[in-house]
Symmetry: C2
Subunit: 323 residues, 2 copies
Amino acid sequence: MTSSQFTAQPQKICERLQIRYPIIQAGMVWTSGANLAIAASKAGCLGVLGAGSLKGDLLKKHICKVQDHGITSFAVNVPIMYEGSADQIKEAYDLGVRCFILSAGSPKIFTPWLKERHATVIHVTATPRMAKKCEDAGVDIVVVEGFEAGGHNGRDELTSMVLIPQVKKQVSIPILAAGGIASGKQMYAAMALGADGVQIGSRFAATQESSAHPAFKQAICEASPEDTQLKLRAIAPVRLLKNPFFHQVEQLETSGASAAELKELLGKGRAKAGMFEGDLHSGELEIGQVSGMIDHIPTCQTLVDDIIKEYHQTAQHMANLMS
Amino acid sequence: MTSSQFTAQPQKICERLQIRYPIIQAGMVWTSGANLAIAASKAGCLGVLGAGSLKGDLLKKHICKVQDHGITSFAVNVPIMYEGSADQIKEAYDLGVRCFILSAGSPKIFTPWLKERHATVIHVTATPRMAKKCEDAGVDIVVVEGFEAGGHNGRDELTSMVLIPQVKKQVSIPILAAGGIASGKQMYAAMALGADGVQIGSRFAATQESSAHPAFKQAICEASPEDTQLKLRAIAPVRLLKNPFFHQVEQLETSGASAAELKELLGKGRAKAGMFEGDLHSGELEIGQVSGMIDHIPTCQTLVDDIIKEYHQTAQHMANLMS
């Protein structure tokens, strides 16, 4: 399944992003630095740097490292609700980055500036309505993220199964499905639902090249299907792996705590402590529902090869269903 | 896509249940009486009576009505946590029903009794773990219901995209996917994920032959994608359409109300008032996330024809993706 074997939108995505497969490695906090972006790119996907946790001169260092590997087609993911996101976008652009994935904010804020400069703009949304707003704002590609996704999540809790076909009806720009996709079977299903490609997060977090702490990667592998849940709706909904910190949140929420009390518990630096420093007890462990089906830590190359192989097996299986 | 065109599990399901398509019309409270079961059966699916709201002699009347139409292959859905479910199962069996869909309870309770009497037992579950327990208890087919489904829902909130492939790894009995399926595209995606067929609920609730009140059917058609949400987790999670009653529940939950307070608000008869009597203000309106994509009220025959047509179009689209 190379770009030349695809017709219509998936091919457009591959050509537009200069990648072999219509797969985007999600930009995630604390897990997607240069090593992951380089490995995902080399495996045929769009490698992405998660700028949300690359503060100060770290973003520049990671961009330069990816470029030093001769990789020109990669993206920077910027959650635009944070202070400093405008500076990050400008800095990345000045360093030569020409593909941006923006999330957690209005598509109207940065799209005009980037489009005037001929950059590719991908925007992450969680509802058909917002996807339409992205298209209207001039966004090139939308990532539509279902309820099953890890980390920060939409308030409307639409799952990939219902979200993808509804977005497909609303927009004519290409759609990348995210949330619940860790295998070739799921990639195939997402594309049958109307996606032109996929964005994969949690499964890339548990690869050799991800910058997640080894203890967090191991925790992902050991997770049962029931081991994540969406929490902190009173602040901003986020899907977490169950650990002692999760249970503290749960207890507070059950007792009817206010947003202020939850914010106080959350404090600062918990995501870094959990995902990057491996504090499985007190850290915030953001991960998707698919962690229940992740049981090993492959290289990106092996992972992508396996996904593509299973995609083809699924296509064959579906063709065989009708004799 | 008739049974003779299917190989492997979907064909097994069609043969086992003596139906043309691997589609089960879900047994739902207040919406799935004899008229719907008859129409769904005639359209090539398994028609199902929802016994949860067929109390007293109503169940017998509806069973006899289906049988009077010469339909032998249909099922009764019994939520087994209610008092009287044992009597309903026995009554239905004595009237000649040989296919049962059980939900909301352990598969160990009634499966042995039914299997001794050569009935087909289908059990509804929401996790891979429970699906395995069903297989171990002798259940013939599992329905696996994702978070996007309407009405009562599992506590682990697994979506169809992640639930289906994980159940497939756990069990070797056939799997019917439920939750988020209202179209041929979604049926195709569910089968690509590993399902052998599908159970469709909300989409059948908004057909001509469903016993839902016309005002409720109209409300389903008018619903936006964001218009349902899972509520009442403190009692038993249930997906509701947003209406004034929903907002009352939301307000109580946000204020940290206890299960007892929520139960008091819920009271008795709200589901009947909303879904069967059309009280859109104070009634409890149970419906799935797919209501956002439902915009007309077809007959079952037209609906099933459209689903099968779109299934084939999707198969063709997926074959065309790779040239």
